[in-house]
């Protein structure tokens, strides 16, 4: 029988919010020489129609001290999605595509108070491990 299905768009070309946050988690580990670990947690709504991806910073040398940074939520389509800032003022942004998501995440990861906190965490972890 001939398939009546249309051609699926190339999966590799879909840059999901989860993938974007995972890259930022890895970048955090790299820029802190592994002293801070970027972690991604995934969960779903009780009805199963919303997927949540949260980016956290964990400091193993400070007994796994955790800093929640932001959470992205979306349905089965990656976009549009909502970005909830968890560390800075609790604001939620709605974005329609990857470009807007990257802009908001970039802003969130450049927050001065967040960077100061991470920097202090590195200093404390370094001192604690002496």
């Amino acid at each position: 029988m001939t398939s009546l299905w249309g051609k699926l768009p190339e999966v590799a070309k879909i840059n999901t919010p989860g993938k974007i946050l995972a890259e930022q988690a890895a970048a955090l580990g790299e820029m802190s020489s592994g002293i801070i670990v970027g972690e991604i947690t995934k969960s779903g709504s009780s009805r199963g129609d919303v997927i949540y991806t949260e980016l956290r910073a964990t400091v193993p040398l400070l007994n796994n001290y955790r800093i929640r940074i932001l959470r992205v939520s979306h349905g089965i389509l990656s976009y549009p999605c909502d970005i909830q800032l968890l560390f800075t003022d609790p604001v939620t942004y709605s974005v329609v595509d990857e470009g807007q998501l990257v802009t908001v995440v970039h802003q969130a990861l450049n927050d001065e108070r967040l960077l100061l906190t991470l920097s202090n965490a590195i200093a404390q972890a370094t001192a604690a491990s002496e």
Binding site: G29, E30, S33, G34, I35, E39, P60, L61, S129
Partner: protein, 271 residues
């Protein structure tokens, strides 16, 4: 395959040598004893190597004799107990049931006689069993610097580590003595003793004292029968060279930067 490396680095600044070994052996989990280097410094050096992606494993009981580092997601490793020369972690590998991995640095023969060492072994083995029961985990690997040879009382006694030399005996899983059942370990180090073995004759060169073995096998890896199908005959290795440097030649040609050779264990996925 998940690769575990243990090295007693004798309080020397060997972070670069450790990093080179990790790169060469594609190490996933690293346990270091007698590590005077801060965890932060070790991480910086490890992550400047080829592999990268190392993080430390949380140490709530600071002052542990073992420092742990890993390339696995930190959520997959949890410290279970620390103290008395044993540092035990629970590791989730390959989406399988968790396993317990313990790294030890037990008291030196310079400080404890055979009786004290056997008692330390008994207490440590009992704690490991207690944690297996508490966590409902049967698959356990213990490796590190036991400061005992495979034939010492603490390693062989049924109420000590109960670590036997023969896979066929280990397969029984429990050995009975005077009506009590004791879970045993398989000890592959018996097969790595002496100059007919594939690697060096031992892990620690000590040609002194009236009774001398010259080579001792203080650094060992022992595991439960339930892990035997996942740790093959060539999966426990005494590392004898790195970066082109042969650590242990014959006689006095000891060129290892530490006084102990490192040991490597590979755990494979469930078939």
């Amino acid at each position: 395959v998940a690769t575990f490396l243990f090295w007693n680095i004798a309080k020397r600044p060997l972070d670069q040598e450790v990093t080179t070994l990790c790169d060469e052996l594609a190490v996933d989990v690293l346990a270091v004893a007698e590590c005077a280097i801060s965890a932060a410094k070790m991480l910086t050096t490890l992550n400047s190597g080829v592999l990268k992606g190392f993080s430390a494993i949380a140490d709530p009981a600071s002052g542990s004799k073992i420092k742990w580092f890993t390339r696995l997601p930190i959520a997959n490793i949890e410290r279970v107990v620390d103290g008395g020369g044993l540092s035990l972690v629970e590791v989730k590998l390959f989406d399988c049931s968790p396993i317990l991995v313990g790294a030890v640095h037990l008291p030196s023969k310079l400080n404890e006689g055979p009786l004290e060492q056997a008692e330390t072994a008994r207490v440590t083995a009992a704690l490991i069993r207690e944690m297996e029961i508490a966590r409902s985990v049967e698959d356990t690997l213990i490796f590190g610097d036991f400061n005992m040879n495979p034939f010492d009382e603490g390693m062989a006694a049924v109420n000590g580590f109960n670590a036997v030399m023969d896979r066929r005996i280990a397969k029984r899983d429990k050995i009975s003595y005077k009506g009590n059942q004791y879970r045993c370990f398989y000890n592959p180090m018996w097969s790595l003793l002496g100059d007919e073995s594939a690697g060096p004759p031992g892990t620690f060169w000590f040609p002194r004292r009236l009774v001398r073995y010259h080579w001792n096998c203080y650094d060992q890896a022992i595991f439960r029968s339930t892990l035997m199908s996942r740790i093959g005959r060539s999966d426990v290795v005494v590392i004898s060279e790195s970066n082109g440097l042969v650590f242990a030649g014959s006689g006095k040609k000891w060129r290892c930067p530490s006084d102990h050779l490192p040991i490597l264990v590979k755990i494979r996925e469930v078939a």
